[in-house]
Amino acid sequence: MRLHEYQAKGIFAEAGMPTPDSQLAETTDEVLSAAESIGYPVAIKAQVHVGGRGKAGGIELVDDEAEAREAADAILGMDLKGYHVDRVLVEAAVDFTDELYVGVTMDRGEGKPVAMVSEKGGVDIEAVAEETPEAIAREHVDPAFGLHPYQARRAVAEAGIESEIRRDVVGVLTTLYDLYESRDASDAEINPLMVTAENEVVAADAVLNVDEDALFRQPELAEMEEGSYVDDLERKAGEYGFDYVRLEGNVGIIGNGAGLVMTTLDLVDYYGGEPANFLDVGGGAKAERITNALDMVFSDENVESVVFNIFGGITRGDEVAKGINEALEGFDEIPKPVVVRLAGTNAEEGMEILNTDLVQVEETLEAAVERAVENAREVSA
């Protein structure tokens, strides 16, 4: 789960991290009054879950009220890489001499958190990591002990941070690691950490992505979850509790288990079709969940054909068949052709109760996918 910049900054500030004065605003008038109380110049920053906001026009630096009005009008309501901007953060502009990078994430290969510091902040840190990895100092952290102070000092020294500000950067990194650990983050990042002419450091951005599997013990963060959906379909998937990713194609795909659903997508592509979505109903799905899944995929107007691929282990074929029947019997005319492939636990029982007047049935995965691709082709023709 991603927190917005303003939410992450609030948490950082509470932990004693230096952050610029800022206020959230939803209208141009609110932007102007916020800017007035903070004092120009200010930065106006779109609060959406998108990387590279600045390049995409979602961040403007303004010097006076006229510029602020113009920027607020432009940013509020804009569509930023598919996300609607309905709030901005109005923030005191930092007069900086240097931009650093500080971050903590999980190194899955090592199975350990890694703390990172670089003097090449402010730019595309992914590009720095790829092209000049030596420009980022890294310290792997023993998760049982946490980040030792000497490790923070060593990372900051290795990164070549100037000696006047080392103590402050060490403080920022230590606080960031503590937040990463105590808030069950998957990533905690500051980019840029700005250095002022007075040799003070200020967190000019804040990233805190939280491990969704840990939300049960982070109730405060769970409540901060705010729409990070591109469209109504993804919002719907969130409400139904599906693992869902919308794609560009026209073959809707429903299956159980991430690996098998990904495989079904790949086969659609292999047989010359284009997958419209990834939708995993999960393990042990009951009839209602299957009905919801069909509702989801039918609501995608790009979908012209649907394939169901269920290999029951914990999921039961008879429950799946019941759900498909319930979903389809409500229609006078089935909106898009549906191909069903049922295997595994209670597949035979499922085949017996499946209303085959409403769906096409195939025995193998390959045949089911091929038929669904063919259906989509016929509909588009």
């Binding site: 899955r108 069950d184 491990d211 599997d213 288990g257 690996g259 659903v261 790949d266």
Partner: protein, 289 residues
């Protein structure tokens, strides 16, 4: 022969009193697995599916000589359950639980390096040696005994590929689902090494997916250390970068690592044919034997 589990494996079910725990205990016993005990804090003295329940794993080890556990404990308590298993001198712990926080698993992995216990999972379907024992939730009826080893990050994909194998008459020595999370106990390399050492395993299937670099490491291991032929499958060729495809581990980073392409290339370079479909994987295996 087999790897990691056989008919001598004496199983304690951690979380046996829960819905999934009790249901799958019944299924495992029906399959022939030697389930000797359950362990649930505060539930000692009960009996589930004819199996005595203890408060702690240590008691199950002492009283029933258990040497492996399979864990159906809810996510909030699962890491503690795994620690208990690791701390009870078991040879093997199989964690089925989905949704254990990643930072908990980092601590588990640290502990794993200090003990002799093998951990399989979490977020996995378990392990099965057909005709001998299954620890987990795999549907036993699709497996058959034979000479093909299988290791996979995904449960349902395992079923699919096994179905393709079994329908061609290609039985299995052992099938291991290692789980789709970013941090897991047993890696592809661990399982491949065990299959290489198992004289009964004459071919191996490895099912990977996007995310992480475990498949690339496996490819290097196969290239350097394996005589047994391996056939591969990689799920997620069509996955867009930056989106999580169900599994917590299945996300392609922006910088080109962890992609299906890089994994397929690495495997091909190691002499491993990677099928475009599960059926092609079964065809490759047939050609090896």
């Amino acid at each position: 022969m087999s790897v990691f589990v056989d008919s001598d494996t004496r199983v304690v079910v951690q979380g046996i009193t829960g819905g999934e725990g009790s249901f799958h205990t019944g299924q495992m016993i029906e399959y022939g697995t030697n389930v000797v005990a359950g362990a649930v804090p505060g539930k000692g003295g009960q009996e589930i599916e004819g199996v005595p329940v203890y408060d702690t794993v240590r008691e199950a080890v002492r009283e029933e000589d258990a040497n492996a556990s399979v864990l159906f404990v809810p996510p909030a308590f699962a890491a503690d359950g795994v620690f208990e298993g690791l701390d009870s001198d078991l040879d093997l712990v199989v964690a089925i639980t989905e949704g254990i926080p990643t930072q908990d698993m980092a601590k588990v992995r640290k502990r794993l390096s200090e003990v002799d216990t093998r951990l399989i999972g979490p977020n996995c379907p378990g392990i099965i040696t057909p005709g001998e024992a299954k620890l987990g939730i795999l549907p036993g009826n699709i497996f058959s005994s034979g000479n093909v080893g299988l290791v996979s990050r995904s449960g349902t994909l395992t079923y699919q590929v096994v179905d393709n194998l079994t329908k061609r008459g290609l039985g299995q020595t052992t099938a291991v689902g290692i789980g789709g999370d970013p941090i897991i106990g047993t890696s592809f390399v661990d399982a491949l090494a065990a299959f290489e050492d198992d004289p009964a395993t004459e071919a191996v299937v490895m099912c990977g997916e996007i995310g992480g670099e475990d498949e690339e490491q496996a490819a290097a291991f196969i290239d350097e250390n394996m005589e047994t032929p391996v056939a591969g499958f990689i799920a997620g060729r069509t996955a867009p970068p930056g989106k999580r495809m169900g599994h917590a581990g299945a996300i392609v980073s922006g910088s080109g690592t962890g992609t299906a392409e890089s994994k397929i290339d690495a495997l091909n370079d190691a002499g491993v044919p990677v099928g475009d479909t599960p059926e092609e994987v079964a065809e490759s295996v047939e050609s090896f034997l």
